[in-house]
Amino acid sequence: MKQNLFLGVEAIGQAAIDGGISGVYAYPGTPSTEITEFIQNSDKATEKGIRSKWSANEKTAYEAALGMSYAGKRSMVCMKHVGLNVAADAFMNSAITGINGGLVVTVADDPSMHSSQNEQDSRYYGKFAMIPVLEPSNQQEAYDMVYHGFQLSEDLGVPVMVRITTRLAHSRSGVVRSEEQPQNQLVLPADPSQFILLPSSARKRYQSLLSKQGEFEKAAEESNYNKLNIGSDKSLGIIACGIAFNYLIENFPDESCPYTVLKLSQYPVSNALVLEMQKHCEEVLVMEEGYPVVEELVKGIFSKKIKVSGRLSGALPRSGELNADLVALALGHEEKQGPSVPDLVVNRPPALCQGCGHQDMYKALNEAVDKYSKGRVFSDIGCYTLGALPPYKSIYSCVDMGASVTMAKGAADAGLIPSLAVIGDSTFTHSGITGLLDAVNDNSNIVVVISDNESVSMTGGQESSALGKIEAICAGVGVLPEHIRTLIPMKKYHDMMVKTFEEEIAYEGVSVIVFRRECIQAAARRLRKEKKMKENPKKMAQ
């Protein structure tokens, strides 16, 4: 069988194509971005007419995917863990409406916060919405779970979540593909009221979701992804969730694990499997990537005599990514370590690229606000967040996408004048527009800086939904045209930039200053692509 060397994210993209989706909907977010990019770049997906353009945010992506499911077709929606917070309203309620065409929700968590604000565990969301969650232990399982996930979703009548973490997403390994499935026909739900969540029908739908819980648990009990392996040594039992299973096996090569092991990769947790496990061990160690979801839960299933340990008990660290070394320690294995890191080694933090327009914006901003006390610039999430670090040290917040505008508004309402917001173009259309509308309606005294590099750069330069629309949007929500200023962030315009800041800070109302210059990485990519197209015009048609 042909092995394809796939990153976890690529395996998922391929599985969705092979599994018969008609569309993928997503907003970029590490470590989920490359799933959608894989589909966008796939000739096969183009040939099959699979739609894959980026959405403005995770909520719009989720709802569109649900609409495609309503129309009977299979769809996938992808996001990073915090993206599910944005899509949560749609997500929770889609568990109540259920689906028509199979819907797979792929969520990529980022334990250790390699590139995120937190390390929330999406399995909680799965439990919250009461839908099945699949958690692959390796790239092949990631492929299989997504490939079969659409059928599972159609069989059970609800969206199915596939939860991955950074390590699996960004690690490559051999993957064997399954046969391509045709796309579904357009067919509307048999019950026309299925998606109308008025209280009367919502109550019925909710009862239906509740009544399916046994079925979901049975599916988990019988799932090939969950395996109970009875060991000879009764002193310990191990529950290994998702990728933690690999870290366990790393510590017991060649099937040498003497303990009973429950490999857990499909939720809800099956009581039957846990109770069966109980017969074969005196103590249980739970290994899971993320929050102690399973550790907490199984305490209520096991008899009180069984001591349960894991991240909560301190057997494993409470936070951060797992690895084979941490698992080894929890198992009491001897610690291996090479030479220690010499003291002279220093950190090498990421920084804004040389020549990046955000730099010029921050230089002007710093000069303009220097005469006021510090702590007046709220910011957001993107490359420009690096303006928090030296040499700029310009910004004082980075909370969630869009929060710069609204926090600046709240602080201005409290009397912090001047109060400024720095937001990127993509973040602005993701979640900044509604906040700007609030500020306009309240005539808040704020200056909103939109640092527009015409690209979603932090996540690798995806196409921005804001492209060519920012001034029109700002005017549309009611910012006065004379207070929508557009400048090019370059050294030679520094004085003009500072002066514009001063003028708009002096204005008592909502101002927007757009700094527009293409991200230099995006520009380089664009030039490379243009060169390629010139050399190979045939490809250009695609």
Binding site: Q3, L5, L7, T30, P31, E34, H114, S115, R167, L168, H170, S171, R172, S173, G174, I243, N246, Y247, L248, I249, E250, P253, N323, A324, D325, A328, E335, K336, Q337, G338, P339, S340, V341, P342, L344, V345, V346, N347, R348, P349, P350, A351, L352, C353, C383, L386, M458, T459, G460
Partner: protein, 193 residues
């Protein structure tokens, strides 16, 4: 047989091209492979690392356990030191000696190189200079791959075949340059191990 390789460098140096060639060669040898990469935030001039595991048996963990890397292959000298805890007692450190000076507090280069030569088994090579002599500094990654080849359980010819396949799209001249760079690195390692 297994080779566990820590590939280290700085975002933008292109360590993943080394990984993809080794990966391609391993797959052609019907070996098992896992390769964990750094994406996202740290690509912007930060430290990047890739864990590359090649074996004739199925591989469990995507990450190499501490104290068990057979090779630390670094395209930047300070970055080689950052991952020493992963090095096995019999492992090799193969590093480029040209630093990437994108931070204000980079330590004295001599002190960095002294820490490298302290390691029992090491190859320190100025890959940028060698690549420059061959005709293109950008081939320095292939010099590094060549320098690491003696410590990977895949025959150098097979790695060369991987280079040819990976660069094939870019034309013969690029393939030849990269193979030349690879051979120069290989020769250096054989002479200086």
């Amino acid at each position: 047989m297994k080779t566990d390789i820590i590939l280290a460098g700085v975002g933008g140096q292109g360590i993943l091209s080394i990984a993809s060639i080794l990966g391609d060669a391993a797959l052609h040898e019907n070996l098992f492979l896992k390769q964990a990469e750094t994406h996202g935030m740290s690509q912007r001039g930060g430290a990047v690392v890739s864990h590359l595991r090649i074996s004739d048996k199925a591989i469990a963990s995507d990450l190499i356990p501490l104290g068990s890397a057979d090779l630390i292959l670094s395209v930047e000298p300070m970055e080689a030191l950052r991952y020493l805890p992963y090095l096995s007692p019999t492992g090799y450190v193969v590093t480029n000696t040209t630093p990437v000076l994108n931070i204000p507090n980079y330590p004295e280069l001599e002190a960095v190189l002294a820490e490298i030569t302290k390691q029992a088994q090491h190859v320190a090579i100025d890959a940028d200079e060698i690549a420059g002599e061959i005709g293109n500094k950008r081939a320095s990654n292939m010099v590094m791959l060549g320098a690491a080849a003696p410590f990977v359980h895949i025959h150098a010819d097979k790695i060369e075949a991987g280079i040819s396949r990976i660069f094939a799209k870019k034309g013969e001249a690029v393939v030849d340059l990269n193979i030349k760079a690879f051979r120069a690195g290989l020769q250096f390692a054989l002479d200086n191990r």
